[in-house]
C-alpha cells in the first residue's frame, strides 16, 4: 500500500464515471421504492407519536428478515442461530425505543434502521468477544465506549431537497444493480459481512491496495465521490 495514499497528500477528485450504462434485463420499479420508503417513514412517526403497535408490526414484517439476513452474513453472529435472532430482537426493540429521535430530514427510514442494525451488531459482537476473552482491563476500563458515542448519528440536516434526494436514491438503487459482479461482491463483503479492507485482503489473498481500488472503483460507479 502506498504511504502516499494513506497520507492523503492532495485531494484530487476522481472524475465520476458517467455514461456507459449497461442495460440489464433486471428491471426495477422506482415508484414502488418511493411508496415503500414513505410507508416506513410513516410507521416510524406513528410509533414515535402514538406508540402505534400495528405500525411497529408492519416494520417488523418488512425489516426483521433483512436484519436476520444481515446477522447471518456476519460469520461470528451467523454461526449461532440464537445470536442472529438476538440481533433481530435487539434491533427491533431499539427501533421502538428510539423512534422519537428519528428525523426524516436527517435520514431516510431505511438508512436510520440500517444504522441501528449496524450499531447493534457492533455492540453484540463486542459483548460476545468480551464474554470469550478474559480481558485485562486497565485504568478507566469499565465497558469502553457506547457504540453510539463513536458511530455517531449524523446531526446535519440533509442539504439536498427531497426531490434531489429521491432522485439520488433511485440512481443509487439502479446503479448497484449494474455493478460488475466482482465489485458487487466486494461491496457486499464490506457492508454486509462486516469485513474491513484488511480482513478482505487476507481472506481473498489480495494486496490491500487491490481491495482498496476495487472498492473505490465500485463507489465511483455508484457516483459516490471518492476524493481520497
Amino acid at each position: 500500500m502506498g504511504t502516499q495514499d494513506l497520507n492523503q497528500l492532495g485531494r484530487q477528485k476522481l472524475v465520476a464515471v458517467t455514461g456507459s450504462i449497461k442495460t440489464h434485463p433486471r428491471n426495477m420499479n422506482t415508484s414502488v421504492v418511493k411508496d415503500e420508503s414513505s410507508t416506513w417513514t410513516e410507521c416510524l412517526l406513528r410509533i414515535a407519536n402514538h406508540s402505534d403497535q400495528a405500525a411497529f408490526q408492519q416494520l417488523f414484517k418488512k425489516f426483521s428478515p433483512l436484519i436476520k439476513a444481515f446477522a447471518i452474513r456476519q460469520s461470528a453472529v451467523g454461526e449461532q442461530a440464537s445470536l442472529s435472532e438476538e440481533l433481530v430482537q435487539e434491533t427491533m426493540v431499539k427501533i421502538w425505543q428510539k423512534a422519537g429521535s428519528f428525523n426524516p430530514k436527517k435520514a431516510s427510514a431505511s438508512t436510520w434502521i440500517f444504522t441501528i442494525a449496524r450499531n447493534t451488531r457492533i455492540d453484540l459482537l463486542r459483548k460476545t468477544a468480551r464474554h470469550h476473552q478474559n480481558r485485562i482491563s486497565n485504568d478507566h476500563s469499565e465497558d469502553g465506549f457506547d457504540v453510539e458515542d463513536i458511530w455517531i448519528e449524523n446531526e446535519d440536516e440533509d442539504a439536498f431537497n427531497q426531490l434531489v434526494k429521491q432522485r439520488n436514491n433511485e440512481m443509487l438503487h439502479k446503479s448497484i444493480k449494474e455493478l460488475p459482479d466482482e465489485q458487487e461482491f466486494i461491496l457486499k463483503k464490506v457492508y454486509l459481512e462486516d469485513k474491513s479492507h484488511t480482513e478482505i485482503a487476507e481472506e481473498l489473498n489480495l494486496p490491500l491496495g487491490t481491495v482498496k481500488s476495487r472498492v473505490r472503483l465500485a463507489l465511483t460507479k455508484l457516483r459516490v465521490s471518492v476524493e481520497r
Partner: protein, 237 residues
C-alpha cells in the same frame, strides 16, 4: 461541531467506508469519529457511504425469522410503553456538564472523549515522559491496537521515534509540526511502519491529540516502548 480552521488531512476512502460499514476496529473508529467531529465534508461523505450500505441491506434476500421472535419483541415493547421516552440525542450532549473545568471548557471535544474526561482532562490517569509530554491510555477493548491521548506542552516535542506499526493521530486541540507540515485541529494523520518523525507542538498552545497505534502484542505500556525501541522487551510492566 463547527470548526473554523480548515481541516487539511482526511481519512481516506478505506477508513471512511469501513467506518460507515461498521467494520473498522473501535480504536481506529474513535480516531475517525474525532475527525468527523471537525469535518463536515467527511460527514457528508459518510452519509453517502451509509446510503450504499442501506441499499445493499434492503436488497438482501429475506431470511426467515422464527415465529416466536415477534411475540418476544412485542412483549418487551409492551413492557416499555409506560417508560418515559428516551431522547438519546440530547442525553449525549454532556459536554456542558456543570463540573466542567475552565481548562477544557473552551475546546469542543469529540463525544466519546468528552464523556471519558467528564469535562476535565485531569480526571484521567496520565503518565509523564520528560518535561513537555504526557499520555493517557484509552481502553477501547482492541487487543491489537493501543489508543492514547497525548498532550505536548506548547513548544515541546515528542522525542524522535520510530514506528513499529501504523499510527493514526488526530489533533483535538492546538497544533503541531513535523518535518513535513503543520497540522491543526481535526487533521487525521497516518504514519506507516518504519517512518520516523519528530512532532513539535506550536509555541502558543498545548497540543492535545488522540492516537491509535498498531500493537501486535498487548502490553501495558506500548507507547513508552514505542519511544524507547531499544528497551522493547516483552517484560510485563
Amino acid at each position: 461541531m463547527a470548526n473554523k480552521q480548515l481541516v487539511k488531512y482526511h481519512p481516506d476512502t478505506r477508513f471512511l467506508t469501513d467506518y460507515a460499514a461498521g467494520s473498522l476496529p473501535e480504536s481506529q473508529a474513535l480516531c475517525v469519529a474525532a475527525h468527523l467531529h471537525h469535518c463536515a465534508d467527511c460527514r457528508a461523505h459518510i452519509r453517502e457511504l451509509t446510503q450504499v450500505g442501506t441499499e445493499l441491506f434492503m436488497e438482501q434476500p429475506a431470511a426467515e425469522v422464527s415465529s416466536g421472535c415477534l411475540d418476544q419483541v412485542m412483549a418487551r415493547v409492551a413492557g416499555a410503553i409506560n417508560e418515559p421516552a428516551k431522547t438519546p440525542a440530547t442525553a449525549a450532549n454532556d459536554s456542558s456538564s456543570s463540573d466542567a473545568v475552565k481548562k477544557t471548557e473552551t475546546v469542543s471535544l469529540p463525544r466519546a472523549i468528552s464523556k471519558m474526561t467528564s469535562g476535565n482532562l485531569e480526571n484521567l490517569k496520565w503518565r509523564t515522559l520528560g518535561k513537555s509530554f504526557r499520555y493517557s491510555t484509552i481502553n477501547t477493548g482492541d487487543e491489537f491496537r493501543e489508543s492514547s491521548l497525548l498532550e505536548i506542552k506548547a513548544g515541546g516535542e515528542i522525542p524522535r521515534h520510530h514506528h513499529g506499526g501504523d499510527e493514526i493521530t488526530v489533533i483535538l486541540k492546538g497544533s503541531f509540526s513535523d518535518q513535513e507540515d503543520k497540522y491543526n485541529v481535526g487533521d487525521f494523520i497516518v504514519r506507516s511502519q518504519g517512518e520516523t518523525h519528530t512532532p513539535v507542538a506550536s509555541q502558543d498552545e498545548d497540543c492535545l491529540c488522540i492516537t491509535t497505534l498498531d500493537a501486535p502484542i498487548k502490553m501495558n505500556n506500548v507507547f513508552y516502548r514505542m519511544l524507547m525501541p531499544f528497551l522493547n522487551r516483552p517484560t510485563s510492566a
